[in-house]
Symmetry: C2
Subunit: 214 residues, 2 copies
């Protein structure tokens, strides 16, 4: 790539990669930018612009070759790169994530779990090694863990994030409500169920009032 | 509001609402667009533009009043509107969501759970009424449920979404990998943990190569 690529384009290209895998499973070979846009909820122009960051991929009127597009995404974005991950907080959500098979299949296997409650560490049945929360920095460094998932209560999130950063983490997916202060070189993504419910609720309301720009 | 508002602005305004609540808890009264932008990872101009959709809120140089800003968000976006929700799929994730207290506190209380496995419906201990998956449409209509959360395997997602839509749902939060075909007037938000891990992984890589536009 020779142009700087904006974050929203990366978000869409990642969603596109997943869509391409699904379409290929369904036996499709070519796809138009219009069709990609319809699935991803953006217009065809944005799709073409996003794909243009990957280089010259051939005539888009004839449709993109799914195999080729997938190859470009893998080559340019290292979208299949494996990274070791860990989970902080072993409540209901943390436990569900701990046993989520798809993480391993996607190359982001969990190699450590942490909780401040020693009792949980001793009783949870899992193949993943579990440690007390005050060992986060040491273990992250020692096990070369690059990604951390935060499933702790909001009041514990800042401290947990600091420990991850001290251990040398490069990215955090934050399920807690806390706002994690950005550290240079560390990227944070927030997942918030209530926030998503709020958004669909508002979209529906604005759409009925005809003041939603689509 | 007299201008049409784009979806990304709604997303940012929802994140802003949550941030405002946190800042107010910490005793803050005013906030600048720069500060809001820093927390939300966007520039101050976007913040001011987003806020402008809510109407005239006064001089932004002196900083926005948090109380006033929160009021505008509530009045314009009905951000506190209560809606009844349901969960489809009672595996580990579905169970974690079923017991997630914050849904009730946020006005999106779960009033029904569904699974195709009758055994699960009979054994799960919860205060929420549980029903077999083939009753989704009937129950959604009868209980006036407006929001559905899909925590089913990908192969069951399309059928489940169809049942929700038949019942008159207005919004779906989809945790499955399946791409839910959009229905007119029904809004879908996808939550994908692997996708988020991929994004932070790529952001880190591109940032090191200095080809990330921030």
């Amino acid at each position: 790539m020779n142009k700087k690529i904006p974050i929203p384009s990366i978000e869409r290209l990642c969603a596109m990669y997943q869509l391409i895998e699904l379409l290929e499973k369904n036996g499709m070979e070519k796809v138009s930018s219009t069709e990609l846009g319809r699935h991803l909820g953006v217009n065809a122009n944005s799709i073409r612009k996003d794909i243009s960051y990957l280089g010259e991929i051939g005539n888009c009127r004839a449709g993109y070759s799914l195999r080729k597009l997938r190859g470009y995404l893998i080559d340019n974005l290292e979208i299949n790169r494996k990274r070791r991950s860990c989970i902080i907080g072993l409540g209901r959500l943390g436990n569900a994530i701990l046993e989520y098979d798809r993480l391993f299949q996607s190359g982001f296997g969990i190699v450590a779990g942490f909780d401040s409650n020693i009792n949980k560490i001793e009783t949870i049945q899992t193949n993943v090694p579990l440690y007390p929360a005050n060992e986060i920095s040491i273990i992250v460094k020692r096990e070369k863990i690059e990604l951390g998932m935060l499933a702790v209560p909001a009041h514990a999130a800042t401290e947990s994030a600091k420990r991850l950063v001290d251990g040398g983490i490069i990215g955090i997916v934050n399920f807690s409500l806390a706002v994690i202060q950005p550290h240079p070189g560390v990227f944070v993504r927030n997942i918030d169920l209530v926030g998503e419910l709020r958004i669909v609720s508002i979209l529906s309301m604005l759409s009925k009032e005809n003041i939603l720009q689509t």
